[in-house]
Symmetry: D5
Amino acid sequence: MQRAELTEKILDIKREKGWSWKYICGEIGGFSPMLITAALLGQMKLTKPQAQSAAKLFGLSKAEAAMLNEVPYRGSLPSAVPTDPLIYRFYELVMVYGTTWKELIQEEFGDGIMSAIDFDIALERLPNPKGDRVKITMSGKFLPYKYYGNTGNIPEYGYKEE
Amino acid sequence: MQRAELTEKILDIKREKGWSWKYICGEIGGFSPMLITAALLGQMKLTKPQAQSAAKLFGLSKAEAAMLNEVPYRGSLPSAVPTDPLIYRFYELVMVYGTTWKELIQEEFGDGIMSAIDFDIALERLPNPKGDRVKITMSGKFLPYKYYGNTGNIPEYGYKEE
Amino acid sequence: MQRAELTEKILDIKREKGWSWKYICGEIGGFSPMLITAALLGQMKLTKPQAQSAAKLFGLSKAEAAMLNEVPYRGSLPSAVPTDPLIYRFYELVMVYGTTWKELIQEEFGDGIMSAIDFDIALERLPNPKGDRVKITMSGKFLPYKYYGNTGNIPEYGYKEE
Amino acid sequence: MQRAELTEKILDIKREKGWSWKYICGEIGGFSPMLITAALLGQMKLTKPQAQSAAKLFGLSKAEAAMLNEVPYRGSLPSAVPTDPLIYRFYELVMVYGTTWKELIQEEFGDGIMSAIDFDIALERLPNPKGDRVKITMSGKFLPYKYYGNTGNIPEYGYKEE
Amino acid sequence: MQRAELTEKILDIKREKGWSWKYICGEIGGFSPMLITAALLGQMKLTKPQAQSAAKLFGLSKAEAAMLNEVPYRGSLPSAVPTDPLIYRFYELVMVYGTTWKELIQEEFGDGIMSAIDFDIALERLPNPKGDRVKITMSGKFLPYKYYGNTGNIPEYGYKEE
Amino acid sequence: MQRAELTEKILDIKREKGWSWKYICGEIGGFSPMLITAALLGQMKLTKPQAQSAAKLFGLSKAEAAMLNEVPYRGSLPSAVPTDPLIYRFYELVMVYGTTWKELIQEEFGDGIMSAIDFDIALERLPNPKGDRVKITMSGKFLPYKYYGNTGNIPEYGYKEE
Amino acid sequence: MQRAELTEKILDIKREKGWSWKYICGEIGGFSPMLITAALLGQMKLTKPQAQSAAKLFGLSKAEAAMLNEVPYRGSLPSAVPTDPLIYRFYELVMVYGTTWKELIQEEFGDGIMSAIDFDIALERLPNPKGDRVKITMSGKFLPYKYYGNTGNIPEYGYKEE
Amino acid sequence: MQRAELTEKILDIKREKGWSWKYICGEIGGFSPMLITAALLGQMKLTKPQAQSAAKLFGLSKAEAAMLNEVPYRGSLPSAVPTDPLIYRFYELVMVYGTTWKELIQEEFGDGIMSAIDFDIALERLPNPKGDRVKITMSGKFLPYKYYGNTGNIPEYGYKEE
Amino acid sequence: MQRAELTEKILDIKREKGWSWKYICGEIGGFSPMLITAALLGQMKLTKPQAQSAAKLFGLSKAEAAMLNEVPYRGSLPSAVPTDPLIYRFYELVMVYGTTWKELIQEEFGDGIMSAIDFDIALERLPNPKGDRVKITMSGKFLPYKYYGNTGNIPEYGYKEE
Amino acid sequence: MQRAELTEKILDIKREKGWSWKYICGEIGGFSPMLITAALLGQMKLTKPQAQSAAKLFGLSKAEAAMLNEVPYRGSLPSAVPTDPLIYRFYELVMVYGTTWKELIQEEFGDGIMSAIDFDIALERLPNPKGDRVKITMSGKFLPYKYYGNTGNIPEYGYKEE
């Protein structure tokens, strides 16, 4: 069994039952809906109790429940540049603003990155008379590059003389 | 003259003067610092007065100022998959969460996309005892797919009989 | 069940019945034939009543009808550069005229794009003694890039001092 | 001298003079502005008299004028998938609607393609209270695939017996 | 059913029966053997009577016969650069001689292309004491680029003043 | 000096002088115009006397003449899939007819390839009331795959026992 | 049936029987073991009697035996750059020594190539106290580029005047 | 000035002076030699005092020293798959052992990654009678994926009802 | 049967039984757990006795056991640039530090590579109050490039005069 | 200075002087001509005395001589799949015979690779009445994969309990 087959099965049941992600995430609970949805789409893992709930909801086998509790091989898209327009727009933001984000984050925080692991994200609808807006709030821990020197706990580089 | 050469010149001067983006954006003003920085990096355009200010600040020629007021060919990165770790993390988010964002945005808004054009974005520092966090807030207009029918103002498809 | 399997099934039935798209789109109705065809090929969604009609016409299951009412992961081609000659010609137009369209649209409208979402399109046959012509009329809303400044409703970039 | 260098020179002069494409195309005349712009961007050729006019307008050398009268190696974009958002939207249309266009054109015209060579195109602004629209009208000759049989003017395939 | 599956079935039967293409093309008739073979390999379409004959010969179902009468999604190779040595040699010719063909065709015919649609081709064996040769004769209609001007039957570009 | 720079220089002089390839090939002589043009475009080599003639005609240095007598690193196009429409059409023929050529050549000749090295090619104009045609005649030596057995002049595979 | 499926079946039987290639090639005979192995892996063809022997040995159907007598679509690897370390080393040799081989072969032989078709190859084990070595001996016919002139047996290029 | 030009200048001076990295890193000091070398190759930043020392050692301008104190756009290789054999071997390890590392790290640590940012690394020579060995010791902080729930400090996903 | 199918089967059983790699590697024994895990994931081979043990543990057929004793076609990832974040970090290290490793290894050892074949590797957990760390220790034999001269045991290059 | 520039300079001088590689390699001496040529083409290093000789022969500066004594970033080709026909044939051999070489080398030697580092190679001309042949003899040390177990000199994997 591959994770993609389990995802397809879950989507089949969701379609037949006519359930929304809101309903499903409410039933499973415990995490943000973003994470639960991502797990059911094969990108995150559920805890054992959540996997149990999901198994009950979707009528999954014990092995399928166990798979939901496994860390998947991540990467949800079939190509390096996404073809789906909704997803492409996010890729486009990276292409256009990538170097700007780099400059501004580094000016404020120094050399390092925004973690995509110690990371949370939320979606909201912003009502707006000119057309509602999608609001996305992300927050990732800043991880400074470690610049280590002569007193580290790993062997000093420099090929000791024998 | 190519836009990339102008960007390189601006970065050379910034480096020699020891200026920060904060200072530069303050001097030029009028837009969010995110946009001014993006424009100086060759991804957005400045207004004419802003381009004037930038020209004065950086000692640019008239033609160089005019170029800052032009819309660039966008795309700031040298490869389809970014190699710089700070920028890659954003790409990774698209790879991992792309299908999840699609599901949740569409469940709430219907068929359409979050605009990357009618779009604003801000960076903040979230102080945190376990390590400060980078907070990014985006808001893009939701654009519903247009499903048009038999009364549109363009000719109906269907190859009229002559 | 994957959307591609449903598309294959629909094409199988269309072939066996000997139906034309014209006939099929007439039976389903409500949208332009362009959109209905695109939906049946797995690139757009039908409304629920249309999906019902399609299900009746093609003898689809309830789940298959529900799938036609879902937004698909878009991208109809198996490679980034199309190999089919009819489709390649459109790609070629983008390669050859891309920068020209950019210059002329931006000169007239300013910085922004032609929406591919709030977009309609029609095909017609132009009779012509030297050989009939395919006429394509597209109309997409112009979306100006949003250049926002110091009074936006999202937090100002600039990392407040604590 | 490479065509790209000539294009860069022309854009430099256009910028310094503050000319619009409308003005430039009016000065050169004879073709649609779309074609003249494409030629100056290195994708089409001008006639000799047009190249002369362009040379006079931009102060080009005799060799540069001759180059404008040459057929260029076409392909205006630096990557197979465009990164510029305005141009990408056209690529996206090909990705999403490619198979649909194929089905509908072939149903109406039979097996063949819409020519991208015997082809004309125009841009218009469609005023619209909800936001003006970009209207694009294309017309390409339909070219039927040639299915030839036993009486052609080229040698019949089939490896004659000696 | 996908066209590739039908191709595989046809090749299976050809193998079991021990038929040559020469025999098969003779049985189906009407077109050059090159075109009939291409159709059976999923790259061209047969006429209805030819599809009937093919169905009889290969014992195909009505739906399979109908599929042979459909225009396929063209592109017979699994990668953009062919790996099979026989086919690669043709690709190599394009890589090595591409710019030469462009220069010489354009010098003789002006700006345009050799059509790959209104196109015929034949293969012959040229007996030769040093080793027989494969002779390929192609003839494609020259299609001049259409350079259109101010009196065309499509709206003039130039954004009318309102 | 790189071969591409020499090609650019030759094209510059050709443009300034207003020479055709026909004239140039006539001046250099000895080979088919196809080969001489290919050599001047950096894809083939000229003989020493031809290189001398070319040097005289174009006013080249001794080193430049020597370079024309060198075998170049072949490959005339900047990308694996050509973007220029005239050249692309040949690539398209390979994509569409590649497997057909393979089947028919192998049926007639057995396992092997048409050489792209022991190969000649000619272009002609076929006058035609419906539009002149480009005729291309190629002839390449058939090279059978060598299936060698137990009596070859290279050591037999099979890891001798010591 | 696809050739890859037949290869998989043959490898399944080889594994179950515990046979070596040496044994298999001895049973089939007639060619070098290199070629027989390549054929069973789907890259070369066997003669009819060899295919018969193979069919007997592996218990193949008549159609499967016929397939072993067919020329396959060659290309044994799933990606353009091999990932398997043993095979990658050969690719690496091409990357590192490619231009050197070109220079030295051309200096000795003139313009042309070493054929990969009229080609034989053998593997040996070279015993060596510091570790045995793999010895590979290749021999390919040198094929000179054909430079043809004004008296060829194909029509002279040069577009006759009508 | 681009970082690559500065790297090239530094390597030119290193070569002319005949300095080793060991000597250079000793002169600059403060960090592990691995990091100083990486910085001089354009992949890390030096501190201001280190950049000063480097500038003195290499005779760099003030602007060049400032550039060494900047965070570079990281990515040291000209292609996504490295061609240099020494570097390729590391890529190969990722290709072959990637999934194994994933399984074992996750089994021990749970869902997360080994940081490539909070990361240190050392090289040593392991003397060995059969041939000395390169020993590499890496240590990266384990970063657990953040699974956040209903009490986070960012707005809960779920589109509030207005 | 393909190796990937066997890997999938093993993972299915591991999941159903709820076994850890630690347990499995303990049962099979003989090699480092890293190697046993890699073998079960289809990247290394087990010895015959190990394959036997694995077959007993997982209830595999004789042919499946034999397959575990075969050398697989290595390459564990579905794309040249890994999308899974844990694995990508290792790729990132190669991109960022590749040229640095090359400089430092070569300065110490001379021209050559660190073997990825005569290679061992271990993972450890480094407890750390700020967050435990993943420690990886690799050791690969240094292989010097062989620079051979005029007295080698293979024929001297230089094309003997006949 | 980049290695490619030095290679270009060396080729310029070779061309002007009319020297052959045979002559050049004779003058420099010490290594096989294959290695000296590769070094001058930027793929190997010369020893200091050889670099001295080369500098004298070509009139190189001290820094240029030092560069010839450096290990280059290897990879001599501008694309992952070579376009030059002579070099492509070697790539083709890898594509066609890659899996066969793997099977036969592994059957004879066990799991491992043929080293491309401890490797020598020679070219010869094989006179042959049907056309001379290029003979290539390679010999690379067989490197067995190291399968290490419980008594290695690196820490045992298995995450010690604290």
